[in-house]
């Protein structure tokens, strides 16, 4: 039982550190990355808490949280890339560009 306590404390400390990065993070992508890391550690924390309290049914919640974390990350990135939830698929960045401003053949 002591190993569950140790692992739970380690995961909680890691969540606190990742939250510090999410608050400090200078760019948007640092915050998204820290949120994703917090989600992964939350999955571990749910499983460990289930074993620690003798109710392993928590694993169902952990599985659901794994699904939600993935979808949430993709949705947040898509929202901040297009600033809307129903994007028109236009070229928003010069680095994606296969457009006219990139070719240079026509000067």
């Amino acid at each position: 039982m002591i190993m569950f306590v140790v692992a739970t404390i380690a995961v909680i400390v890691a969540i606190v550190i990742a939250l510090a990065r999410a608050i400090l993070g200078p760019s948007l992508y640092d915050r998204v990355l820290a949120g994703n890391a917090v989600g992964t550690k939350t999955i571990l924390l749910l499983g460990l808490m289930g074993f620690l309290t003798g109710r392993p049914e928590f694993l169902d919640i952990a599985l659901l949280y794994a699904l939600m974390n993935f979808i949430a990350t993709i949705a947040i990135l898509k929202f901040f890339a297009y600033r809307t939830m129903s994007p028109q698929m236009r070229d928003m960045s010069p680095r994606l560009g296969n457009g006219n401003h990139d070719g240079g053949a026509d000067g």
């Binding site: 995961v11 640092d30 992964t40 571990l44 074993f51 890339a81």
Partner: protein, 134 residues
């Protein structure tokens, strides 16, 4: 046999806790978004998998629990590279440049540099801090 399983899961939990803490510390202390992403990958793959294997060994042969843990592990194994890749792709497309060479060395001197801008090419190298405007 029970002892072997006990100590094996003890080792797995210790190693998993170590990698989770290491990944979180790297996420806090690395100088750049792209290096922080490398640190976050340690937690996502090795730390999570080791702790989940420890939980599988502690499940007392309950096949429902083992199946659920294996499904969680399989799902993490598929989704964590995909989400990491899409974060990196979004950062690169959004114009976030990695710290390279000289910038990386000067990070401790000027830590509150605006990371969303492109790195400026600094003429003169190391002399530009003590040189003064001529």
């Amino acid at each position: 046999m029970d002892n072997v399983i006990h100590y094996a899961s003890l080792f797995l939990f210790a190693a998993g806790s170590f990698f989770v803490i290491t990944g979180a510390l790297g996420l806090l202390r690395f100088p750049d978004f792209y290096t922080r992403m490398h640190a976050s990958g340690v937690t996502d793959t090795l730390g999570a998998d080791l702790i989940l294997w420890g939980m599988i060994l502690q499940a007392d042969g309950d096949w429902l629990l083992i199946a659920k843990l294996l499904i969680i592990m399989l799902f993490l194994m598929f989704t964590s590279p995909v989400s990491t890749h899409s974060i990196a792709h979004a950062a690169w497309v959004g114009g976030l440049n990695p710290l390279l060479g000289k910038e990386l060395k000067h990070h401790d001197i000027a830590p509150d540099r605006d990371e969303t801008k492109a790195p400026v090419e600094m003429p003169g190298g190391e002399e530009q801090n003590k040189g003064g405007a001529a």
